[in-house]
Amino acid sequence: MKRKTHIYLLSGCLLVLLIQFLATDLFPGFTGTDDQSVELIQQIAPGYQPWAKHLIEFDQPWAEPVLFALQAIIGLSVIGYFVWKQSKKKA
């Protein structure tokens, strides 16, 4: 990769950290829409009991962000390979 690309990627990493900070620290009270929909279901049908549970649930608070990051990394790896193959094709 060229030096310019490294600078771009580093800037991208910093941007990620900034967005991460903004998304999680500046808006800690922001609840997910699925959590809100569960609350609404409980209001509309107070007697409704969920009839199934997740097969795997992690108690550790760090597990979920790490697994979502893993999901993103898998996707990024494939896209990185695609970009690399396209650049080789052009060259």
Partner: protein
């Protein structure tokens, strides 16, 4: 857009924040509805798998492109963003693949993403995967294709047609989820319409700005693919760039 820009996009999407997805949570849909949605989704999934197998068989060079559009969904659906009204939600990324490979083929991608999230991340669920898959990978994909066709029919520029397809797709996914929940919990005390308004007030309002962000991402990604994989696109969809007779395989 060059490859560096795409690299940014990828990095910008790598947000390790806790994601609260658009999925209906495990067990939060009555069993009869779960079975019904699974049946509908399975039908589309079989058609999608068959269509994809045929496409890849005819155009083996498009395998990597399909992996890339699948990865795009993988990344975008891992991303949580704060939105209006103190809520946060997700992008989906379904439109890009639907425009390139046809709407039904995205049901395969949807299955992989939703299984990953249901099994490992405790988001969505196996019982509700049929409903979630139908809203995300079926309604989202078909609405993207139809919006694209409409805009191209109106002679809109390519970027506007792609962006609108993505925007519409994102909103339709959440509207469909709202309708699924509204109909499942409709009874004598809570009508479908009143439920729908309540669920839409959660999902649709949150999604509006996020759908606009996704539209920008999708236009940039589409332009990159158009520039670097034009030969594959021409093989997959010879008329994709045409104003008239725009045809995208279902």
């Amino acid at each position: 857009m060059n490859k560096n820009t795409l690299a940014y996009l990828g990095l910008a999407l790598l947000l390790p924040g806790v994601a609260n997805s658009m999925h209906i949570a495990e067990g939060f849909l009555p069993a009869s509805w779960c079975i019904g949605w699974w049946a509908v989704y399975l039908a589309v999934l079989i058609a999608g798998f068959s269509s994809l197998k045929k496409t890849i068989g005819e155009h083996p060079n498009a395998k990597l492109l399909f992996a890339a559009v699948g990865a795009y969904v993988f990344i975008l659906s891992s991303l949580k963003l704060p939105s209006v009204a103190g809520s946060s939600s997700h992008l989906t990324g379904i439109a890009l693949g639907a425009l390139l490979f046809g709407a039904s083929s995205m049901s395969v991608v949807g299955l992989i993403v939703l299984l990953f999230q249901a099994l490992l991340l405790a988001h969505g669920g196996l019982t509700t995967l049929g409903a979630n898959g139908f809203s995300m990978a079926v309604c989202g994909a078909f609405s993207a294709v139809w919006a694209f066709r409409l805009l191209k029919g109106l002679k809109a520029p390519q970027w506007l047609a792609v962006g609108s397809a993505s925007f519409v797709s994102n909103l339709v996914i959440y509207s469909c989820t709202s309708a699924q929940l509204a109909v499942a919990f409709a009874d004598s005390t809570a009508s479908f319409t009143s439920n729908l308004i309540k669920f839409l007030s959660i999902f649709a309002v949150t999604q509006l700005p996020l759908a606009a962000i996704e539209a920008v991402f999708t236009v940039l990604a589409f332009q990159y693919i158009q520039r670097t994989s034009n030969a594959e696109i021409q093989q997959l969809n010879p008329n994709l760039y045409e104003t008239k007779n725009t045809h995208i395989p279902a």
